[in-house]
């Protein structure tokens, strides 16, 4: 069976040539050969990791690692646990820069990871979302290098503009900790949208802003209390108390299986405003910020009306 050998070796060669391999969406080979092919891929991956034979970009994004190690464990969560439904994916361009602005919730930034997967697996161009993270993310050991390797960078204007002008898809959660750490009773109420830094970055780069509304993430870890003293002690913005955490110990870490909807809205074009000069106009920046915020808020209410229940 000489053909079998060729089948196994081919992907290894092609993978080394291109730094970011497309996901294996076409397991066209014989069904039994599937796992063997995967094993061969795994071997090649291990060899690349051991010898350091992979490429990363200036921000530290490691597509090889993200594709094979960081994203796969999230897929069952996406497909089975939260059963994420995406809408309006056609509003996200296939190429070129765009800024995705979304509401933030859920105690743990699972919404960021699910949005990344939605665009990676279900967008026709399989785009990788580059997220802008808070300071804290890049201060924490283990988390900081992982965030960089997953393609994320610090939420600051130089980085956002560099990614956007480079034609990357950038994601931002302007509510920050105020959004993700808010108590359950304030669910789906948008918090303050920062200082509009994301709008000026989009204006300077002249890329569209795509409002993104995420429903379902609020219910995964309902925050009923905050251990403020402990949070201050640990230097964290909040330490959540949920119905299951810390009451049930490690079991409390399991998120509730809410049904998610991620809707990408109509893009708001910014190229006609006139670039850097427009970014210096605070009134325009505030108005655009409000427009994006209002769009997300009203879409959230519409989606909530359409939702049959939290879990189905």
């Amino acid at each position: 069976m000489p053909e079998a050998k060729i089948l196994q070796l081919e992907p290894r060669e092609s993978r080394r040539a291109q730094p970011e391999p497309a996901p294996d969406l076409t397991p066209e080979a014989a069904p039994g050969a599937d796992w063997e092919q995967r094993l061969a891929h795994g071997l090649a991956f291990l060899r690349r990791r051991i010898t350091g034979d992979y490429a990363i970009d200036d921000f530290g994004f490691d597509p090889d690692l993200a594709e094979h190690v960081l994203l796969p464990p999230l897929r069952p969560l996406y497909e089975r646990w939260f059963r994420v439904e995406t809408r309006g994916l056609d509003h996200v361009p296939d190429t070129g820069g765009a800024l995705i602005v979304a509401n933030h919730s859920g105690t743990v930034p699972l919404d960021a990871m699910m949005t990344t997967l939605a665009l990676k697996d279900h967008h026709p161009a399989h785009r990788h979302l580059r997220l802008l993270g808070a300071n804290l993310v890049f201060t924490l050991p283990v988390v900081a290098p992982l965030a960089r390797k997953a393609g994320h960078t610090l939420a600051c204007n130089p980085d956002a503009e560099r990614l956007l002008t480079g034609g990357d898809l950038v994601g931002v959660f302007p509510e920050g900790f105020k959004g993700i750490g808010k108590p359950y009773r304030e669910r789906y109420k948008l918090q303050r949208f920062g200082r509009g830094g994301f709008v000026s970055a989009a204006l300077r780069a002249g890329v569209p802003i795509i409002p993104c509304s995420i429903v379902g993430a609020e219910e995964i870890y309902p925050i009923i209390g905050n251990a403020a003293t402990l949070a201050r002690l640990l230097g964290l913005p909040y330490v959540p108390v949920t119905p299951t955490f810390p009451l049930l110990g490690p079991l409390g870490v399991v998120p509730l299986p809410s049904k998610w909807i991620i809707e990408f809205g109509e893009p708001i074009e910014t190229s006609h405003f006139g670039g850097a000069a427009a970014a210096e106009d605070p009134m325009l920046v505030f108005n655009l910020t409000d427009q994006v915020r209002e769009t997300i808020q009203s879409t959230l209410y519409t989606l909530l009306m359409q939702r049959r229940s939290v879990f189905f």
Binding site: L43, D53, I56, G60, F138, L140, R148, L154
Partner: protein, 352 residues
Amino acid sequence: MNPRVVLVTGVSRHLGSRLAGVLAADPSIDRVLGVDTVAPRPELAAVLGRTEFVRADIRNPLIAKVIAQAEVDTVVHMNVLATPLDAGGRTAMKEINVIGTMQLLAACQKAPTMRKLVVKSTTAIYGSSPRDPALFTEDAEPRSLPRTGYAKDAVEVEGYVRGFGRRRPDVTLTLARFTNFIGPRIDTPITRYLSLPVVPTVLGFDPRLQLCHEDDAIEVLRRATLEDHAGIYNVGGAGVLMLSQAIRRMGRPALPVPSPAVSLVARLLRGTALVDFSPEQRHYLEHGRVADISRLHREFGPVTRPTAEAFADFAAGSTSRRVVADLSRSAEQLGLELLARRRTTSPGAVGA
């Protein structure tokens, strides 16, 4: 506008002597003067060519006499030391770096023949912190100014250089901020560090490294000396390597050390004189530092090779790299062959 008489400081060290040698080989330059406090080691003296070695201390006003008498029109200042071991202690190092630069610039300011000043600086002046943008542009404002050691000296040196630029606007001023150097011949803390048999890293951190090949550094300084490129330039390779990736490419094992124990390990290494670790290098090993080199490439053309290529030239000499590469390749081959054999011996498994 070709320079006629060039004075190079710090000529007894690796980069200084090589640059002086390259300039001396250029027939368009009349004289090349090399200044340092100690005579260059014999192997470095060989590359100097027709460079005239002047044994002088730039901290001494004597340097003004040298500049005036030789009618020096171009000064390349490379005498900012990175490691206390080179100078014989931190106090001496600070004095050579800061006071030396002050004296040299004072002498330059007085010299009517001066037309060009090229200063070798470092991207270390940007510091390393988690709150910095991913890439530093030349006009970036660092979030945490370096407070100790070499980086602080470099910040002060740049301050004096800016002052000089204000007082002598007729002098073409080029300030080159280099990333860490790498290459098969150069000996720096980072090359020593990466050559350790087991490489200690900070547990939970994996910085991005940007490296500059020694040959490219010489080329940038040579062109800055011969041509007019006024301004500040970040000089380094395009792209980055993660520290873990660099260690893997060297075929070395990494030893993650918990943060509180890092200074202890650093002291041990310093005690054995293997690697000269200073406190700001610990921040570097946590957060890394990458500079935007687009201005350099716009002005000079693609003069530096990518970080990965520069590193490959350094790692080529590592036997452990070859061993690990061969072993992992043959292990992979073996795995694939076992798979293939399994398929040929039990064809039923394929159909199932």
